[in-house]
Amino acid sequence: MTNKTREIKRIVIFLLLCFIPPVVISIIYGINTGWSSENKWFAALSNSLVVFPALANIITRIITREGFENNSLDIRIRGKQRYYIAGLALPVLCTLIIVLLGYCFLISPETRQLIKDKTDITAVAARILYGSSMGLFLVFAGLGEELGWRGYLTPKLEKLMPLFPAVMITGLLWGIWYIPLVISGYAFGKEYSGYPWVGIVLIILMCVFTGIFLTALTKAAGSVLPAAASNIAGKSVCLSTASYILCIESFEETGAGGGFVFAGVVSVLSASAGIFILLKNRKKEKLSVSTKISV
């Protein structure tokens, strides 16, 4: 079996293991609950499905006898602190921009007055710091996803195609993986016009562009840990803190506009930061290669 054929086989096995169990579980949940996010099992479902990409990684390696080298789990932090900081700082930046845009365009004048009267800067800073620290406290939840997507699928696809298409395809598959949850109201709720198709398109776009940033962190740090921390920090900080600052219960209250703002800001910032890190890394690699050649 050629190397390419072997890699394709591994990718297929990984995708089957990554998609089939969550899709089956989600369909069973959807049929029994009418795809409701209000159901008491929704939180358990959305928090438990994250482990399947990592499990798919481990099981695929065992089935194909690949072993556990190149597992993207380098835990050395020294010299790579800036990538961890970048991973935790980007969700904070996204939150602040979402709040600014939400304040300007999405909420009523009465709510704006309420924000002016009630906002406590220390409490806001505390919530942002708390949300960011969840990126580290709940890093195992982040590893559940990142070990699969950035830790296994992207490197495997890179062996078959250039980096950019590999990142795009990983992001696309990641977004498709989220479809059952989006249908149940994850991230955008269900009260927007165009449900669920608009939500599906938004989540796929977000996953593609966020994937650029997470891949950049993984390649620069040589480990999925910064990406895992960033993934969870983003989920902990962005929506809940933005909702708190804007004095709304959830972004569903703002209708489809909230979803577009959220998805747009996260996508643009993540893609920009990711491309910046990738280009800087590539420049550093070229410099080190040319230095080695000259020596």
């Binding site: 358990a44 505390a126 710091l129 708390y130 620290s133």
Partner: protein, 237 residues
Amino acid sequence: MTGLIYKELLTHKKQLFAVLAVVLFFTGWNIVPPLTAHDLTAQELTLFLGLSMISVISVGAFEQGIFESDEIKIWQSYIASSPDGVRLQIASKYIFNAALTLAVVFLLEISFYISGAINGSDVSVCNTILILLASTQFILRAVETPFIVRFGSKMGNMYRMILISVLTTAATMYGLFGDLSVFGGSFGEVLVRFMDIIRDKTSYILWFYPVVSLVLYWISCHISYRFYLKGGEHYDK
């Protein structure tokens, strides 16, 4: 570093299995619905939190003994002679302890969500208290580990007991002469009051606590780097 962490896994395999068994037992116990109430009563909250405290405390007890296995002068000389050896040795222990605590947090959080789904309770407060418990573990390790690294396990534990005695004495003095109105009522009522404090959006002091614990843990690691070689004077063998 990966090799050193793998060494920790192999060296403490039996203790790890015991700790894992305790954690899985109490995680499983969390999932069995205690009552059919729709909102968490004080008794349910006490049960959930008690069970998670036992899991976190048992992991903490294991983490206290992690330095003892490497208190051998030959090992210290070997690791000090390797490039970046002291930093890797200390960092691997800290990362191993942190990873263990965080893995337990993740397991317990999933069990809370499933338990909440079974009996229809809102478990967000339980998750917040779990994070605070884990943060307390980080602070305890951050305080005691430099003592253990500097003075060895035996003397380090002695200094730690002295510190705990001082804190216990201070708490007793407060209990005798301080304002105890906040602790009035049963344990369940105190917990419900504590739950209300956490739910209060302006109680931002508690929101800073996890961040402070992580910073202290990082500072403790750097302090331990400096103390490691001096600690060898206290090793028996």
